[in-house]
């Protein structure tokens, strides 16, 4: 079956603009995660969804970042008034349950460049 897909694969934007990043999880997966990865580094947790609700938003770096999930499926991560330090690869992952030791299936990521 299809894996996790993300769009766009690359996004170049100007400082101050808003961007929306999309994640399509694996069908039937109830848990969805967003991470941020700076160049060649480990992953920084941003937010976790269980169904349409987000019980853990602790990783969002500022109020410019928000995310929503509708229909228990597609999720969008929105960054308002982008800054150069927002440049990174944004990864989405899904899991069949919200249990932390379950395997997380990752998408290929969206590379965001803020000029």
């Amino acid at each position: 079956g299809a894996g996790v897909s993300q769009s766009p694969s690359n996004k170049v934007t100007e400082k101050g603009k808003d961007v929306e990043l999309r994640c399509d999880p694996i069908s039937g997966h109830t848990a969805l995660y967003w991470y941020r990865q700076s160049l060649g580094q480990g992953l920084e947790f941003l937010i976790y969804f269980q169904g349409n609700s987000a019980p853990d938003k602790s990783g969002l770096p500022s109020d410019r970042f928000s995310a929503e999930r509708t229909g228990g499926s597609v999720s969008t991560l929105t960054i308002q008034r982008t800054q150069q330090e927002d440049s990174a690869v944004y990864l989405c992952a899904s899991s069949p349950e919200g249990l932390s030791y379950n395997e997380q299936f990752f998408g290929p990521g969206t590379r965001l460049t803020v000029l």
Partner: protein
């Protein structure tokens, strides 16, 4: 924040050599996972360890979870060019997210 530090950060070895990557923390984790990530792709799970002292083998890869569940190691025997990639450990304390390590970038030279 539960920090997971990996060492070495970069490793470049010849094909056929053995290597060990370490993942250390001052925090106790209920489980720990190892992922490998290739350029332009998301990480892919290699293994999950749950019990302190647990050892798991995946072909030429051997994973160990420390007795105190604060650290882990990944040992690769007779490395191959296909092993090249970014290796990430990730720990869980029972909450709904994973704390990822800083990563080890491995290059195996043919």
């Amino acid at each position: 924040t539960q920090l997971l530090e990996q060492s070495p950060q970069f490793l470049s070895i010849q094909e056929g050599e053995n290597l060990t990557v370490y993942c250390n923390s001052s925090s106790v984790f209920s489980s720990l996972q190892w992922y490998r990530q290739e350029p332009g792709e998301g990480p892919v799970l290699l293994v999950t360890v749950v019990t302190g002292g647990e050892v798991k083998k995946l072909k030429r890869l051997t994973f160990q979870f420390g007795d105190a569940r604060k650290d882990s190691s990944l040992h690769i025997t007779a490395a191959q060019p296909g092993d090249t990639g970014l290796y990430l450990c990730a720990g869980s304390s029972g909450a709904n997210n994973l704390f990822f390590g800083t990563g080890t970038r491995l290059t195996v030279i043919p």
